[in-house]
Amino acid sequence: MTISKELERQGTPAAGPAWRRRHVLDLDDFTAEELELALQTAAAMAQVLRREIPRVPTLRGRTIVTLFYEASTRTRVAFELAAKALSADVVSVTAQASSVSKGESLVDTARTLRATGADIIVIRHPSAGAPYLVAEHQEASVINAGDGWHAHPSQALLDLYTLRQHLQELRGRKVVIVGDILHSRVARSNVWGLTRAGARVVLCGPPTLLPWDLTAGATPSSSQPLDWMRLPPVEVEPDLDRAVEEADVVMALRLQGERQQTGLITSIADYIKHYQITAARLARAKPGALLMHPGPMNEGIEVAPEVARGPQSVVDEQVANGVAVRMALLYLVAGTQTRG
């Protein structure tokens, strides 16, 4: 029986957008339609999560493995709760980065997981590109839960989802991402998602943590498209007070303590002075502008405590939306693991 006939048989229209993406590695090649489908699916999943018993039988008999080579609380928990809400079996594998050499052994681990029945492998790895390698060398679907400085597509999707709950249309909205842009996979995936949704993205942070292509002669005052790691056109503005002017959204990133040891920032105190999101700075944005943070937050460093818990903060919603968005991704890629 053909697919369209089977769909007709069960009374679901075959028309509409179709998901054919086997892996979710980054948002860089997502079409606007695919983003839309993922967000729409997440909204339906959020309904399931609001029930008294938040569980549907959809992925019964499927095995989802979370393979984390890096510490994580919210991403891992969100993926595991998402898998359970869809009635899949969940196996979590933690690997110590020290015991796993790169290359073959990562592939071998993934192949073993596939051989033992994994339909979907959710992977976090300190090396950029690791999920691509896994996707290439075995049959299970791969979802990137963060790879090095490269990408974190499920985080960017949940940020988009959260924004859409507040701003119906993202086209033309000004989103300022503040902090350690250079080392941030959250920023990179968000740049792809936000620009594809039509938002105007401004990157802001200490000049040492911004992805300037200094060799190309870019200076902090010239706002020009970046070539660095193939980013789509965004603006760069190292002065936070200027960057937040008329912003609809301010997204602060986590600052890693080690950036100070490596000399990329002079001191935490200096960072706070110039880059902390304070009530005064947020007041320069549009009235009611949203404050986001991917977590875990160093409260009092990236964001002033009264702002972090203030009425404009959607940080808690971001965490809550994380499960629905991951359910959507698991559901959608599971469709590419057809059986029989």
Binding site: E6, Q10, V56, L86
Partner: protein
Amino acid sequence: MSETILMGPADVRRALTRIAHEIVERNGGCEGLLFVGMRTRGAPLATRLASEIGAFEGAQIPIGALDISLYRDDIHHLQVQPVVHSTDIPVDVADRRVVLVDDVLFTGRSARAALDAIMDLGRPLSIQLAVLVDRGHRELPIRPDYVGRNIPTTRSQQVQVRLLEVDGRDEVALITPPEGQP
């Protein structure tokens, strides 16, 4: 591929009017009723049934729309994952007399999925099934309580219900594939 129109706008209207009366009669009124339309075309049918009953009984029956994608039994075998739509049921299903509404009853698998989906939302007093067309070929022990029209079909034929709200016109078409094609 040949297409025969088996029901026109007037036929659809009369069938729905009759079902509306049957529902009220069988349930001894409208007390506790909740109409749940199965997406896509069951939803506008549920709305129409409720407004028919509103017209002659003066009662407002709550209506909801149900998406069964997450409950399908063929999900591992489809190559394209069905698009999940929202389920919008405005009241608690607990202790309600739920009338599930769909356009076509065929194998009964969608109805089975809908039963599970409703049960996951709560414990209704009862669930009844109303369909505009019953085309036979059941694969599960499921029977409708209200039928607009029984249409004998072969397995290879298709029954398409078209509704004003979705398709721009009201009609029921029987589509027969050319000879020799499955």
